[in-house]
Each structure stands twice: as structure tokens, then as C-alpha cells.
Point group: C2
Chain length 123, copies 2
């Protein structure tokens, strides 16, 4: 079956297709992107073929490097969670010690901060 985004990801802005992953923009308040391996029916990293796992970590590092270069960054948070959206996706989020959620994670926090439509990029 061909790769297809689940509905949760279909409305997110497309950034680029890397060799393995589609890169989408998750959020415009925090610098926050998603890497989605273009492989069908995969929910966790350990379900990828080894060659794809290796490509994935290279693309995670490539995306991390770019985020550090583009945005002020004290820490890049990298995570594959997916409790709510099962298709495998890796969050790459640029965090700074001055951002409004630091040092807590993005997840589990007041979503109005993340859903602020009035501004793009808080720093």
C-alpha cells in the first residue's frame, strides 16, 4: 500500500521530502517540525528496516542541525510519541531557556500558548 498521511497530519504545512521522511510544520509558535518516514503502516521506529532506521537518524540529525542554525536554540527536543496520532512521526522542537514553557516539555502544557494565532514564532 502506498504511503499516505493520516488525517491528523494532512492539514499541516509541507516543508520538504528528504530521502526517507516527509517534513511537515507542526506549529508556528514554537519552531517545531515533524519527520514522517514515507513507509506504510509504521507506528514505531523499531518497525522500520534497519537501513531505514539508519537513514532516519541521519535525517533527524540533519533536521536538528538546520533547526539550530535557523533558530535561537538552547536545546532541541526530539521525540517519537504518537499516543494520539499513531503514524510514526518524530518531533523536532527548538527550545530556549527564555521560551514560555521552559524547562517543561511542550506536551502536557497549556495549549493556548501553542495555539496563539496572533503571532508566529515567539522568539
Amino acid at each position: 500500500m502506498a504511503f499516505e498521511l493520516i488525517n491528523a497530519f494532512k492539514n499541516k504545512d509541507f516543508i520538504v521530502d528528504l530521502n526517507l521522511c516527509r517534513v511537515l510544520m507542526e506549529n508556528k509558535v514554537f519552531p517545531w517540525i515533524l519527520l514522517i518516514p514515507r513507509v506504510s503502516n509504521i507506528t514505531q521506529i523499531n518497525q522500520l528496516k534497519e537501513v531505514d532506521s539508519i537513514q532516519l537518524i541521519k535525517e533527524m540529525n540533519y533536521a536538528t542541525d538546520i533547526m539550530e542554525n535557523i533558530f535561537p536554540t538552547d536545546r532541541i527536543n526530539v521525540a517519537a510519541i504518537g499516543n494520539k496520532s499513531p503514524q510514526l512521526h518524530i518531533h523536532i522542537i527548538s527550545r530556549t531557556k527564555n521560551d514560555p514553557l521552559w524547562p517543561e516539555t511542550i506536551w502536557g502544557q497549556e495549549m493556548e500558548i501553542l495555539d496563539n494565532k496572533e503571532k508566529e514564532y515567539i522568539f
Copy 2:
């Protein structure tokens, strides 16, 4: 400089040393381990040499496989965050749809659930 755990990790139970990572037990309420590459002065995955990045994802997958085999698991959460503890460490957490925090992340939740000393492993 030789590899050394930062203070935040020194009191955690040792499980095993893999080729790259030291594996520690983070929490006994949730099945939750940490993989810490035994490399000095590393805070993010993209600071590892490429060969070590590749070894890391193999060990992440190995640990994920074992967690799925040992514990009832609907989803393994895998994350490198480190906003509070800068030494690079990868969380590997076994989650089920019946656990008390599902589908939220472990981070940002009521810590008394995680700190329950009366019981080990909630499921």
C-alpha cells in the same frame, strides 16, 4: 575526559551497558528506562559521531523490542529531551491504553502518579 554520569542520573538503578549506551531504570511505576551514550560532554544526538548515531538507533530499537517483549505495551514512547538534565539521555517508556496517564505524555503530568512508592509497575 572519561564518561561520567551527571548527578541527576547517579542514583538510578543500573541495568546494563550496551556497546554504546548505559541503560538505567528511570522509574518503577511505569516501565521506563534511559539510554545514555557513554561519550563525554554530549547533550544532543546530533553531536555524536555518525557511527555512534547509528549504533544509538540500533540500541534504541533493541531496547524497544525488549520492552515490548517484557511488558504489556500499546506504544513505546522514545524521546531525547534533557531540558532539565543536559547529559544526552533517551527515554524509552512502555505505555498502554489502560495506564493512568494515557494518552498524555509522561512529562508534564501529575508526578504523584509517577512517584508512588507503594507499588512497582502499575500493570
